[in-house]
């Protein structure tokens, strides 16, 4: 069975459906879009594998509020949808089947009501039924392991009651097994040897003597000393996890990042060695990128994908474009809103009905920088490096800070806007996407240059997209090309200054030109567009005036929400 959707109403800032791709779902989105709330909701809807002590309890903060502490409601509802149940799982979840969805689907729903005295009433519902009550056996079908953000890996792997190694060894040495007996015998033996040593014997006599003197012979009790209970849990709880480059060290002596990996490895090993008989195990991981450098992030993502299978499903929240880039767009759930003040929605490109060819294209091209479009409030798609470098500076000339308004510029590296554009619509990624492109179609040669390795030409050019504009997707076309339009808007002296940094002689020749300036500039930079853009960026850094061409002005102001 698979968890495919979470539905929430009135739970913190969640309101609506959050699709969850499987077996790995990567919840992305900017801060405050409710990524952690998705994880918290799943923690409430499923049972912690480690036992009730690790349950997340409902508090008054879980009821929707206005962001300033004023509560807007006193009830919330959460629902998990599972599909693909096996026959056996259908039996286990018989009180939760949802024939309205499918024969092999089940739903579990909880409603919580905050009472005046601050306590919370919780009612469970199963399947399509509005009759309250779901048997515990059904609710235990899906178990979760939760890995919180910024975890104290060193602390959790230290000896003690919560030592995560206990689960692992429990799984490897189950009750009644020879392995367990071995451990217990060894511990009992050690205990006997220890208590027969001279020092321990003396200590025992000393204590007993003192006790007898204090309470007298009538009240005295027998005292004893031993090192640890030879019971399995105690022995295992006392194990320390060690790690290090050259030799295994105590965790406190290691870096945070590696300790985190060790922690996850320990938990994952326990899970893999003790798979659920039926049902599903959810691994809920918050921001696993913490303390990990990008290559390790990439490796961890691949590992998590490997762990996910028919019995295990992974849900990860992340801020890291590395993770997003490593996992593929069809694994993503983007938490976002159409505009400020609008409710947050969860959208998963896997459900957009995008053709496999376009998905493949996105997977190849959604690298670390482009993946940032999933964490934005608005996006400007541009053709090349020149626009990508210069647009933020041009925006500043319009008194717009693109990073402050959350607009990301993504260089699609050519003209293959179409697969990216498919991500945006009010029903898909609902924020604004501006496409900035040339008025002229690119020449064959230009394309060949851009697309090293012979990427097939994609038919949908910006002009074609123009015909398919939606409320959230607009196309802004230059009169001719980026550089031509910059020159056409004026700015001649600044442009020549920048050109001088790249082609000093040519710049000198053009400095006094009166007519045909745009064409002349375009001709001069045709083969050095990137370098010219860098030079212009340097020149503009001093904050001088610059006239922004109208199509760019429109694109920037529309993408930033005006």
């Amino acid at each position: 069975m698979r968890l495919t959707k979470l539905t929430a109403h009135g739970f913190r800032n969640l309101h609506g459906e959050v699709p969850l791709p499987n077996p790995v779902a990567l919840i992305a989105g900017e801060n405050n879009t409710g990524k952690s709330n998705v994880i918290d909701a799943l923690r409430l809807l499923t049972q912690p594998r480690a036992g009730a002590r690790f349950s997340r309890w409902i508090t008054s903060d879980d009821f929707v509020h206005d962001g300033h502490g004023t509560r807007l409601g006193d009830t919330f509802e959460l629902e998990a949808l599972y599909v693909g149940l096996t026959e056996h799982e259908r039996g286990r979840l018989v009180t939760c089947l949802a024939p309205s969805v499918a024969d092999d689907a089940a739903k579990l729903r909880l409603t919580a009501q905050l009472r005046d005295d601050g306590r919370v009433n919780v009612t469970w519902y199963g399947g399509d039924s509005m009759q309250p009550g779901v048997e515990q056996w059904a609710r235990e079908t899906v178990l979760h392991t939760y890995l919180p953000p910024l975890r104290d890996a060193a602390g959790d792997l230290r000896p003690g009651r919560d030592n995560k190694l206990v689960n692992l060894l429990n799984a490897l040495a189950p009750k009644g097994s020879k392995e367990r007996e071995e451990i217990e015998t060894a511990a009992a033996g050690a205990n006997t040897s220890l208590s027969s040593t001279t020092a321990v014997g003396k200590a025992r006599t000393e204590i007993q003597g003192r006790l007898d003197k204090v309470v007298g012979p009538l009240f005295t009790q027998k005292t004893g000393l031993r090192f640890s209970d030879p019971r399995f849990e105690r022995v295992i709880g006392a194990l320390w996890a060690l790690a290090g480059d050259e030799e295994a060290l105590e965790l406190a002596e290691n870096g945070l990042g590696f300790n985190n990996l060790l922690y996850m490895a320990t938990l994952l090993a326990a899970i893999t060695n003790d798979p659920p008989e039926d049902g599903l195990h959810l691994l809920l991981v918050e921001e696993p990128e913490a303390h990990l450098h990008p290559q390790l992030q990439d490796l961890l993502m691949r590992y998590l994908e490997g762990e996910a299978g028919t019995k295990t499903q992974v849900v990860v929240t992340t801020h890291s474009p590395n993770f997003a880039a490593a996992s593929g767009v069809e694994r993503m759930t983007v938490m976002t809103r159409a505009a400020a003040g609008q409710p947050i929605v969860g959208r998963s490109p896997a459900n957009f009905g995008i053709e496999q060819k376009a998905l493949d294209h996105l997977r190849r091209f959604l690298d670390v920088t482009k993946a940032s479009l999933l964490f934005a409030r608005g996006v400007i798609l541009v053709e090349g490096i020149a626009e990508q470098l210069l647009l933020p500076q041009l925006a500043e000339r319009l008194n717009v800070s693109l990073s402050e308004v959350g607009v990301t510029i993504v260089n699609v590296g050519g003209v293959s806007f179409a697969p990216f554009a498919e991500l945006f619509s009010p029903e898909r990624l609902p924020y604004r996407c501006a496409i900035v492109s040339d008025g002229d179609p690119p020449t064959r040669k230009e394309l060949d240059d851009e697309l090293e390795g012979g990427e097939p030409l994609l038919s949908a050019t910006a002009q074609k997209l123009k015909a398919n504009e939606t409320d959230t997707l607009h196309v802004f076309l230059a009169a001719r090309t980026f550089e031509w339009d910059l020159a056409n808007a004026g700015n001649w002296e600044t442009l020549i200054e920048a050109l001088a940094l790249v082609k000093p002689k040519v710049a000198e020749g053009l400095a006094q030109l009166e007519g045909g300036r745009p064409d002349a500039l375009l001709g001069a930079v045709e083969d050095v567009k990137g370098r010219f853009a860098q030079a212009l960026s340097e020149v503009l850094a001093d904050g001088r005036d610059f006239v922004v061409p109208d199509y760019l002005r429109d694109a920037i102001s529309w993408a930033s929400g005006d």
């Binding site: 018989v94 089947l97 024939p99 509005m130 009759q131 009550g133 056996w137």
Partner: protein, 583 residues
């Protein structure tokens, strides 16, 4: 040693479990445990459940029975064996099983509004009425019409509107169906409706049926002889899905006494045959003396008595008959008391039984008042329990809660552990303290109780669905009766109880009081018929089983009290099979 290993050793010990019982405990599934009174069948179910639950890989078992009493026995047996049942198992009535796994999750497929309000009582005023003969005054609540397994209807209690039971059940089918549908839309479901809806859902949705069957590895149905036709059909469907690994029926067809709720021993036997269940008979009696076994078997036409094997097997007190003055019912109990003293049996271990509730009340000296509203009865009983410092039974409390909640909110169900439920319980506790004493007329008691109810009701809602005046209403004649005669149990020792009340129980001594002949009914004649080898009409067979159930409750001494106008040949019939006349 693990719990499972300890349990196996315990089961191996013949002191705890006999060979016959052990066979049943350890048998593979899919069998019919044919039990007899005192064979310890419910205990066997408990031990079997404990064993299956304690294994290294526990089986998922649903252990069901017909009454809550039996369920509590099963749970207690499991607890005594040190086994804790986790969420994979179910223990509860067969009724609750079908509600929890079929009706509640899927009732919406039949258009039942949820949450649905399970109303067990056909006297409830909120049922849509079925009108007969086009006369608005000839109406029956649709809750009084019960589905049979074939989708037809039956009426259990004889209507008082000038329509026969048969006509009431068959003449207004269309109207009944429409009213049932209306009730479903309003979320109103009677206990028997719910079972039929379970049957319908399991029939119409084979995948749901398969999932329910798949939920458990073994379904045990204790007291299978009392299971209704509709419930049996549900079991047949679950077994027929092929997904139920084991079906275990446990029962004694000779103890089937619930025909008024649809139980038919032949249907139970038919299910056993249909499912191909192996029959495992239990012939040992752990409860009664051999002397008792020797006579009780005669009431169900058997001449081979059960084998007494329990601690009372050698008790030599013979079964007796006592003759009582039919003008003084209490004299039956007094004679019994004398016999108990003679046999040195404490009264605390004895029970007096009557076939019918009305006769029981007469023996107990309780005034039977016609037209008393359920709520008045319920409050009166609670008041009596409080005053006489008796334990208040859960079912008694539930009934009162349901009636009070209905008065406050009408159709709206009170849900377990909701604020509403807590409020109702608190109100009821207050009310019980405040109820008037019984040393006044019934009319006066009702009037004063009404005022108290008004106060607690106001604490529950500003706008009650039903005014207390409706339920707590005085009627003609209530002035002439003392409240204490209606509610207080006059003799505080040896209270008579009905046979249905003590089903499944054991008592050191039992007195079955035979009701004097009235109208068509002649209990003395009927119950002596099998002793004389006389044939009995099929419709009367259950009455014989009731006598059988009554007398088989006895551990050491059983007696039958016969009215003094009974014919001599009837007395001789008892003497012939081994009874001794005691007075």
């Amino acid at each position: 040693m693990t719990t499972a290993e300890r349990l196996e050793l315990w089961i191996d010990d013949p002191e705890h479990v006999s060979d016959q019982q052990r066979g049943a405990v350890r048998a593979d599934g899919n069998y019919f445990l044919l039990s007899r009174p005192g064979s310890g069948k419910t205990r066997i179910v408990g031990i079997r459940l404990a064993r299956l639950a304690a294994q290294q890989k526990p089986l998922r078992v649903a252990a069901t029975s017909y009454t809550n009493v039996a369920i509590r026995q099963i749970q207690a047996t499991v607890r005594e064996r040190g086994v804790v049942l986790d969420a994979r198992h179910f223990t509860g009535t067969i009724h609750q099983f079908l509600l929890d796994y079929v009706v509640y999750p899927y009732g919406q497929l039949l258009g039942i509004r949820q949450p649905c309000n399970l109303i067990m009582d056909e006297a409830w005023p909120g049922w849509p009425p079925v009108i007969y003969k086009g006369d608005q005054s000839k109406r029956l609540p649709v809750g009084a019409l019960h589905y049979t397994a074939t989708g037809a209807f039956v009426v259990h209690t004889r209507p008082t509107i000038g329509v026969s039971r048969e006509d009431a059940a068959t003449t207004q089918i269309q109207q009944v169906r429409a009213k049932k549908q209306e009730a479903r839309k309003r979320g109103l479901v009677s206990g028997s409706d719910a079972m039929y809806y379970a049957q319908k859902l399991l029939t119409d949705h084979p995948k749901i049926c398969a999932a329910v069957a798949q939920r458990f590895d073994e379904l045990i149905v204790d007291e299978a002889q009392d299971t209704s036709d509709v419930q049996l059909k549900c079991l047949e469907l679950l077994h027929g899905s092929g997904k139920l690994r084991s079906l275990v029926l446990v029962g004694d067809l000779e103890q089937s006494i619930y025909s008024f709720q649809g139980a038919r021993p032949p249907l139970c036997q038919a299910l056993v045959d249909h499912c191909g269940l192996a029959e495992l008979p239990l012939t040992e009696n752990f409860r009664s003396s051999q002397a008792i076994c020797n006579v009780t078997c005669r009431f169900c036409g058997r001449t081979d008595p059960d084998e007494a094997v329990g601690q009372n097997k050698d008790c030599e007190i013979p079964p007796e008959i006592v003759i009582y003055d039919q003008g003084n019912l209490r004299s039956a109990v007094e004679s019994f008391q004398g016999r108990l003293a003679h046999h040195e049996i404490a009264e605390g271990g004895a029970v007096v039984l009557a076939r019918r509730r009305k006769f029981r009340d007469q023996i107990n000296g309780i005034e039977r008042v016609e037209g008393l509203h359920k709520f008045v009865i319920s409050l009166g009983r609670l008041g009596a329990s409080t005053r006489e410092q008796r334990t208040i039974e859960r079912d008694q409390l539930r009934t009162a809660e349901r009636l009070l909640a209905d008065m406050a909110w009408g159709d709206d169900p009170i849900l377990a552990e909701t604020d509403r439920h807590l409020a109702v319980r608190r109100s009821l506790m207050t009310l019980m303290k405040e109820l008037p004493d019984f040393d006044r007329t019934l009319a006066d008691w009702i009037a004063q109780a009404r005022e108290k109810v008004k106060i607690v009701l106001a604490g529950l809602t500003d706008d009650p669905a039903h005014k207390p005046q409706h339920a707590l209403k005085s009627k003609a004649g209530f002035n002439a009766v003392q409240a204490s005669d209606v509610f207080s149990t006059q003799p505080t020792s040896l209270l008579a109880r009905t046979v249905h009340d003590v089903k499944g129980e054991s008592h050191e001594a039992v007195l079955l009081v035979v009701q004097p002949r009235h109208g068509q009914s002649d209990q003395a004649e009927l119950w002596s018929a099998p002793l004389l080898g006389e044939a009995v009409d099929e419709s009367q067979e259950e009455e014989l089983r009731i006598a059988y159930v009554a007398l088989t409750r006895a551990e050491r001494y059983c007696a039958v009290a016969l009215p003094n106008n009974v014919e001599v040949d009837r007395i001789d019939a008892y003497l012939a099979v081994g009874f001794i006349q005691a007075n």
